[in-house]
């Protein structure tokens, strides 16, 4: 098998530079690449354009990059949980492109799958479609949306092997599989790096061909945004 394992986080992020476009998996704080974000903070790369469904909270997730003013532009579908985000957006320090969540997912998948563009009904007749080509198919209107073009994709998986094969857990899957192979270099961090052959080939969510680098992550906090519980009867 082709070996994708890198020894440490420094190697995993080799080549990340100022002003690059990055994809980051996760929905809210669920399934985010915590180790990669921590290293991006440490390196203090600037001028980043980030594609991620959300923007973290003030003191966790992408919020950590916002604190250091490392992000110039966010492409997201929902950014509601972050005061620092709001400040930078209102002050004009942060450019924000809000797009429908399904469009975000499919623009990733289109990049992964080699489709330059696709027609989706989402956003037709709204400001999201302004300046974009629209077109009728079978009497319904659609908007032409384009594949993303990113330098790095940072994803987080549950298990992985050094061939780059990935398995995700629960709703921590979300955008992570769609971002694999959707950027020039895909870096996967995993909670558990297992030996090649330990994953059932039938149960692999993302084949290693979509992943360029993989490493064993550390110290996962996996913070819960809305801890909701019910009482035992």
């Amino acid at each position: 098998m082709i070996n994708k394992k890198v020894d440490n986080i420094q190697q995993a992020l080799k080549g990340v530079e100022d002003n690059m476009t990055l994809m980051l998996g996760g929905f809210g704080l669920c399934g985010i690449p915590e180790n990669a974000i921590a290293e991006l903070v440490k390196r203090n790369v600037k001028g980043l354009k980030c594609i991620s469904n959300n923007a973290g909270v003030d003191d966790f997730g992408l919020g950590l990059l916002l604190q250091g003013k490392q992000i110039d532009k966010m492409t997201s579908s929902y950014v509601g949980e972050n005061d620092e985000f709001e400040r930078q957006m209102l002050s004009g320090d942060l450019e924000v492109e809000l797009i429908p969540q399904g469009t975000l997912a499919e623009r990733c998948r289109a990049a992964q799958a080699g489709f330059p563009a696709f027609y989706t009904p989402a956003g037709y007749g709204t400001e999201v479609a302004e300046g974009k080509e629209t077109r009728a198919f079978n009497g319904k209107m659609y908007v032409l949306e384009h594949a993303f073009d990113a330098d790095f994709a940072f994803v987080k998986a549950w298990k992985g092997d050094s061939a780059g094969n990935l398995v995700f857990k629960g709703t921590a899957r979300n955008f992570n599989p769609n971002m694999c192979g959707a950027a020039k270099i895909t870096v996967a961090e995993v909670e558990e790096l297992v030996p090649v052959g330990a994953l059932d080939p039938n149960e692999i969510h993302i084949p290693g061909i979509f992943v360029q680098r993989i490493f064993q992550g550390e110290n996962y906090e996996k913070r819960i945004e809305q801890r909701t519980v019910r009482k035992r009867d």
């Binding site: 809210g28 669920c30 429908p100 998948r109 709703t171």
Partner: protein, 217 residues
Amino acid sequence: MLDKNGIAKRIAKEVQDGYYVNLGIGIPTLVANFVRDDIEVEFQSENGVLGMGPFPFEGEEDADIINAGKQTITTLDGASFFDSATSFSMIRGKHVDLTILGAMEVAENGDIANWKIPGRMVKGMGGAMDLVASAENIIVAMMHTNKRGESKLLKSCSLPLTGVNCVKKIVTNLAVLEVTGDGFKLLERAPDVTVEAIQKATEGNLIIEGDIPEMVI
């Protein structure tokens, strides 16, 4: 006049056996509490789960199992997890039978605005634009008027749109209405609410045909 739970209870009656349902945040979330026990319904959350169950017992929360509102949840037997592209394949591909969501404004042609107020911090549309552009069966759950007492059922929306010509039915604290294309057709009155009160609270064209029955909840 209904409270939020009352609106949710009335909408729950629209949920039929065998439906896959996507619930928005707010009043729609409450609908799950009132669906009849004798029908089979599955709840989809666009972050990647089908077959959502109740909230977990304290101490059993799993950070990797949440709904689109970022709340910890559980799953029922027969549930499945999937990626975001697949989730929106379910939505865009019309596999979800019923979408229930809130709104700031609905127009008499079925336009909906629920994501942006100019001048205020915009949080984003999340999955709402995909849902309203795709679903064939959309019910809006909302108060009939806003905090300033102004109608939310309008001739045309004043706020930036989330989707066009898409809302089919509206359940408010005052009434159940069908969006017909010609206007809002009044189907039911909330208990102790007169047709006149509904008329007064509705800016868009209100279609009143015959006697309007009171809701049975």
